[in-house]
Symmetry: C2
Subunit: 122 residues, 2 copies
DNA sequence: ATATCACTTAGAGTTTACTTCAAGTCAATA
DNA sequence: TATTGACTTGAAGTAAACTCTAAGTGATAT
């Protein structure tokens, strides 16, 4: 699978895919004689994971580190678990903050819908 | 209330508070003769709102625009409602993406807890 | 009196995550 | 054969949101 197809499938740009590769988040992707990247099913899976985590706001640096640990083999299991738990905590806090803002937006939109012209900003 | 107290209460830095003010998200905060900011209850409420929305990832530019509209009075109600709905949509999409990543993290941590050493990254 | 501390300003610097640029290769089509 | 289009590279540029610096003021503690 070529870079443009992968980019399209995941809603990323080809530049972003090459950037992720440079940063060690994916690949290195094997290239044909002409130097063109050919993405395997394994590569695609990795991209799917990276995309999911990035969409949730997890940092490139965390992903890099986690992947490095993963490649370090079984002896890194403990540390891997620890950083996943840490990221989960951060994510949970963000989720809660977002839920709160979401509720607040809903409430305010509801007031607009009921034509209640609140003199308060929010 | 002085800037450092406000900063402490909201877990922001004084620099950030002054930055928000420069950007027109809050204030202008009235100052004493010595030039020192004195935050009123109204100011605090505004900061609370800004903090809530920023924590959810809403952009400074959106907040700026919404606040400008608000200060434009009743004739801006329609547009205000529209941009709130737009932001709610964006927020909902982010929430869903984060929930997915959260579930995935949970699943993986669960595997680690059960000592299932998965050969897959995620 | 002098030092300390919190505050003030304008403006420069930093971080994160891309994004764009310039220059070039290669295969296919007009 | 010439041009089009997708790919390649390293490096420079950008946007958003802070964050820090330098220089200064003014009230209070020693």
């Amino acid at each position: 699978m070529q870079i443009s197809e992968v980019a399209k499938e995941f809603g990323l740009t080809t530049d972003t895919l090459r950037y992720y590769e440079r940063e060690g988040l994916i690949g290195p992707i094997t290239k044909g004689k002409n130097g063109i990247r050919n993405y395997t099913e394994e590569d695609i899976k990795r991209i799917q994971f990276v995309k999911c985590m990035r969409s949730a706001g997890l940092e490139i640096n965390f992903l890099k580190r986690y992947i490095q640990l993963f490649e370090g083999g079984d002896k890194t299991v403990k540390e891997r678990r620890e950083i996943l738990v840490e990221q989960r905590k951060i994510l949970k806090e963000k989720l809660d903050a977002m839920q709160e803002a979401y509720n607040r937006l809903n409430y305010k939109i509801d007031l607009y819908d009921k034509n209640i012209l609140d003199k308060n900003l929010m």
